[in-house]
Symmetry: C2
Subunit: 277 residues, 2 copies
Amino acid sequence: MPAHTHRTAPTRYVEANGVRFAYRRFGQKSGDTVPLVFNMHLNGTMDHWDPAVTDGFAQNREVVLFDNAGISSTSGDVPTSVEEMAANAAAFIKALGLAEVDVLGFSLGGLVAQELAIAEPGLVRRLVLVGTGPRSGEGMGARYEKPDDLWLAVFFTLSERSQAAGRDYLKRFRLRTEDRDPEVSAKVAPAQIEALSKWGAPRDNPYAYLKDIHQPTLVVNGGSDVIVYTVNSFILQQHIPHAQLILYPDANHGSQYQYPPLFVRHVSTFLAGRDFG
Amino acid sequence: MPAHTHRTAPTRYVEANGVRFAYRRFGQKSGDTVPLVFNMHLNGTMDHWDPAVTDGFAQNREVVLFDNAGISSTSGDVPTSVEEMAANAAAFIKALGLAEVDVLGFSLGGLVAQELAIAEPGLVRRLVLVGTGPRSGEGMGARYEKPDDLWLAVFFTLSERSQAAGRDYLKRFRLRTEDRDPEVSAKVAPAQIEALSKWGAPRDNPYAYLKDIHQPTLVVNGGSDVIVYTVNSFILQQHIPHAQLILYPDANHGSQYQYPPLFVRHVSTFLAGRDFG
């Protein structure tokens, strides 16, 4: 039987915290890899991940996509705080029987991933933060991601090369035609935006919490992120005790979708941790 | 006959611009690689490069080390401007008969590399800027590197892990015992510091010149560089049109000596340019 891919992996369900979580799990474990759990951005479902990224990782490790509480195929309500979203993610991962995972979070999912790493130091081995920022980050709290038809504008820059990469991403994004996730309900965005606003609100010593992220961390972003300003990635690297930063050229909020093979190579090198951590 | 390495490559000489340049050239060309020319920091000679880095690159490409004018085994005087240093570097590369090279510059060598890329767009294919900064960068102009016995302090952080990596670097640094470069004369530092001061002096629109670097560029630094503050690497990435940034964790000015295999892997991926540029 051929191995499942992003396109063919069946949607499965697991109960935890009173929520029925929808997820897909695929990929070939090799060496000492642990599953890589993906945390999605605002208004996104499992089908918003790029198959070039997920299948890229699936060559050498298990990949777990899921809808957090209240999103698409998962039951329950979207909580109005990042902390509660992280608690739901932890419950989901434990319900799968996983004792140790690597965690990747994109944008809002990156805030959830930070909280998850702090709350569950034994569960989270390594952390990958993509297009995201710290509490009270620059320009955070007031901004939020725009709806689906603006992906080209928010994930890619205005350059011809970046826009072409964006059109390729949108094609890949639609490759899975069966058993797709439903788009999120109208209730999702307001709750997520409330959580984002709380996270982004000004406070004293906003970056102090980052010293509690003890996992080796890779921070990735486009050099021209207009949604979560790129400087926030620099701030994350400067304040997380053991963090590496990679910024890609001519790239906006969706840099991992612009350079998928390079992104997979960089993250895989980091997750293998041969050189530090 | 076995291929030469950092340790065994003979010092050779070539004349250009009225200067007799000392250089070493070794490594195996593979695929469409072009030679990688290294530009050294203040007070450094060819023997200050880390064999783990140079021999790492030499697996797949030709590596060229050289002393710029007035340094160690090379004749002439150290010019008091970065522009003149870059003109000497260009004359040296052309005297070798090379039509296209990749250029790596570390610290002061990174300033020379920027100028070289701008002045010689046809000669320089790709650019790697390590532990360096822009004109009028943050904290630049007033600071300079400290003498040899302080390498552990300026290249590495105070953490146990970084200091241990530093001691390993100092051992590798001394592996070449025959035909070593003489240490630089007392005339070198004052001229280099004058050039650094001119470069770092405040001016209007200091970063505007960076838009003239048309080569794909990789900027690398430690996340805690106390010699050329890390934020300067972020500034370079933000202003060079097609630049990628990598910052390493728990690393100071000598991050490439702290993580040599990872650095070689990242730079080699960039120089191969499969994904952009």
